[in-house]
């Protein structure tokens, strides 16, 4: 049972968070806990995940009582509330006027029906009530160790937003760092520009524009602009600088805002390896589609259907070179590109999903096994048990994506 209340100013920030998360996905999970209210979203190709946690002190009043019913394995039920962005986004559409117009906002859930009630108490005694039905679905949680990244940058959002106008939202952007500077450039590269008639842009930003600039590893990562722009807008709205944590290409990049009252993290998959040359946005989509169908076959083979929805946990990387299950040696040349085994291990240790669902089927399997499987699905790596089935198809997939004709 969730019950919380906010002032007009606070609900504006809340609405801005929802707007930022809408850039990630069409679905939003409301995940309250004792710590506070978390909003999560995950896009359909599992290449981007957003998480905003409003701590309990952010609200004017906050009350969360976990249901008294316990599950068989002793865990209490969470809210498991999934909302469609289409239903919730229009409620927070005119968020800028909330400060003046809305005096109070209350959000609460009813324990019996699957409904979230959002009430706005506005000026002149007007009260607006929105009843939003939700689907029972447990959210995916991605734990990403930001502090373990070699490269950490913190920048005022305004400065980066000025750079981001160069790129349109559907583009991939490449971030290249060295201790001397940061370079933001069009991902498609100079060769592809001729074919698409688009402009190749590049911006160099010096280290003293950053609040914090630590580059341990000279690297270039490529990811989609859309979520970055969403995070920048949110960061500007809350007046908190944004930090970027990343390592080598292929390892996800984390964009985060940390404040006393809230914490927001967007974790985006990055392109792996030297794919920037051969990879235009079109070929990315095609390879995703190809892999998706393969994954469904594999899912049914391994009997994972009971595990968890969404089934399409496809990484955005063009080649699934991250075939490094925990502790198992990998016969894949790409893995060696990324240096020491320590780095490989770091990739998986840091990224694992903790399924908190109490869906019946999962109880049969031990937690650690399910965790391993999810980590592999989420970012394209494969768990050890399926190594035999999957090495063959993956080898062919890897070669197919390497060529131009996807």
């Amino acid at each position: 049972m969730l019950k919380c209340g906010m002032s007009g100013t606070q609900v504006k920030v809340f609405g801005k968070a929802i707007q930022a998360l809408s850039r990630v996905s069409d679905e939003l999970w409301l995940d309250p806990s004792e710590k506070g209210l978390a909003l999560r979203s995950l896009n359909s190709s599992s290449s981007a995940c957003g998480y905003v946690l409003f701590s309990s002190v952010f609200f004017e009043h906050y009350q969360w009582s976990a249901s008294k019913e316990m599950n068989d394995d002793g865990r209490s039920l969470y809210l498991n509330c999934k909302l469609g962005m289409k239903s919730i986004l229009p409620i927070f559409r005119c968020v800028n006027s909330f400060e003046r117009y809305v005096e109070k906002c209350k959000i609460f859930t009813t324990s019996d029906k699957c409904k979230v009630v959002i009430q706005f108490f506005c000026r002149h005694g007007i009260k607006k009530t929105h009843n939003v039905c939700f689907q029972e679905s447990s959210p995916l949680q991605v734990n990403f160790e930001k502090k373990m990244c070699c490269n950490t940058l913190m920048i005022q959002p305004r400065l980066l937003a000025e750079a981001m106008v160069l790129f349109s939202s559907n583009e991939d952007v490449t971030l290249a760092v060295s201790p001397l500077n940061l370079c933001l450039k069009s991902a498609h590269g100079e060769l592809a520009a001729d074919l698409t008639n688009s402009v190749y842009s590049e911006m160099l930003v010096g280290p003293d524009e950053f609040d914090f600039f630590q580059v341990g590893l000279d690297t270039e990562i490529t990811f989609c602009c859309k979520e970055l722009k969403g995070m920048l807008i949110f960061s500007e709205a809350v007046h908190v600088p944004m930090s970027i944590h990343f390592d080598f290409p292929g390892k996800p990049v984390a964009l985060s805002i940390v404040d006393m009252l809230l914490e927001a993290n967007f974790i985006l998959a990055t392109l792996a390896g030297n794919s920037s040359r051969s990879c235009s946005p079109q070929s990315l989509c095609l390879s995703q589609a190809g892999k998706r169908s393969d994954w469904r076959q594999l899912n049914s083979k391994a009997g994972q259907r009971g595990m968890h929805k969404p089934p399409e946990c496809i990484s955005r990387k063009t080649t699934p070179k991250r075939l490094c299950p925990q502790g198992t040696p990998v016969k894949n040349s790409a893995a060696e590109d990324h240096g020491s085994p320590q780095l490989k291990k770091a990739n998986l240790d840091n990224i694992h999903e903790v399924p908190r669902s109490s869906v019946g089927d999962t109880e049969e399997e031990p937690n650690s096994f399910s965790r391993r499987k999810f980590s592999s699905m989420f970012f394209g790596a494969v768990s050890s048990d399926q190594q035999e089935h999957l090495n063959q198809p993956f080898a062919s997939l890897a070669m197919a994506s390497d060529s131009e004709d996807d």
Partner: protein, 247 residues
């Protein structure tokens, strides 16, 4: 073929950006002609249907602090390039707070116009933004298509009313008819008329003023109250009006 130019003055840069925005609204693809004294943006009416052509001329020394070009040959000292106008205007949009702007013709696997901007920033290190705009070089045999159009002698010349007002009137008329009649006389009167089977709408503008006539102008003998009229396509007129910025 070589071309290098530099703008250091903020006002010149602003003006150049606004010209580029206007061109982008008027024509999707246009031809850029570079010659020692001038820069031209040309839209040739044969390329785009509807018979709209455009000729925009900039004296290079009004904009650029440095300007060097070398055309195709000594006799044909010009460069004709075709580019997507929006690419240039978007590249210039990032140059709002620029210290300097450099444009040059480069060949990075294919011909490009490289726009390089040094931005002013809060801290000591300035940002450098580079845009490579792909373009096509127009061969010499096609140059004759891009000559300056000759503007025929006018029967009537009149100063237009506030463009914003004109644009809103024409926009409303667009919903009723595809063709518009513009008529004007030497008494400063302008009418916009549309006619359909069901309805006729006329908007009258008075006291607009006429530019002074040259001494050898044929229209001197004209009755000032007599209207000269033309039929134009409303959408083309609207496209022109939409491209106008408030200077």
């Amino acid at each position: 073929m070589k071309f290098r130019a530099k703008i250091v003055d903020a006002a010149c840069l602003n003006h150049f950006t606004r010209v580029s925005n206007m061109i982008a609204k008027l024509a999707k693809t246009c031809t850029l002609r570079i010659s020692p004294e001038k820069l031209n943006f040309i839209l040739c009416d044969r390329l785009v249907g509807g018979g709209v052509s455009m000729w925009c001329e900039l004296e290079q020394e009004n904009f650029f602090s440095e300007f060097q070009m070398e055309g195709v040959s000594a006799e044909n000292n010009a460069i004709y390039l075709e580019l997507t106008s929006e690419n240039l205007s978007r590249a210039l949009k990032t140059a709002q707070n620029a210290r300097t702007l450099k444009i040059k013709l480069t060949n990075k696997h294919f011909p490009c116009l490289t726009v390089s901007v040094e931005l002013l920033s809060m801290s000591t290190s300035s940002r450098i933004v580079t845009h490579d705009i792909p373009l096509k070089v127009i061969p010499r045999k096609l140059w004759k298509d891009f000559q300056q159009p000759s503007v025929p002698d006018a029967d009537v010349s009149i100063y237009l009313p506030v463009l914003k007002t004109l644009k809103s009137v024409v926009e409303k008329m667009k919903n009723i008819s595809n063709h518009l009649v513009i008529e004007a006389n030497l008494n400063g009167e302008l009418n916009l008329k549309i006619e359909t089977d069901l309805v006729c709408v006329t908007t009258h503008f008075k006291d607009l003023g006429n530019p002074p006539l040259a001494s050898d102008d044929a229209s001197r003998d004209r009755d000032p109250a007599e209207m000269a009229e033309v039929h134009v396509d409303i959408r083309k007129l609207l496209q022109f009006l939409a491209g106008q910025q408030t200077w």
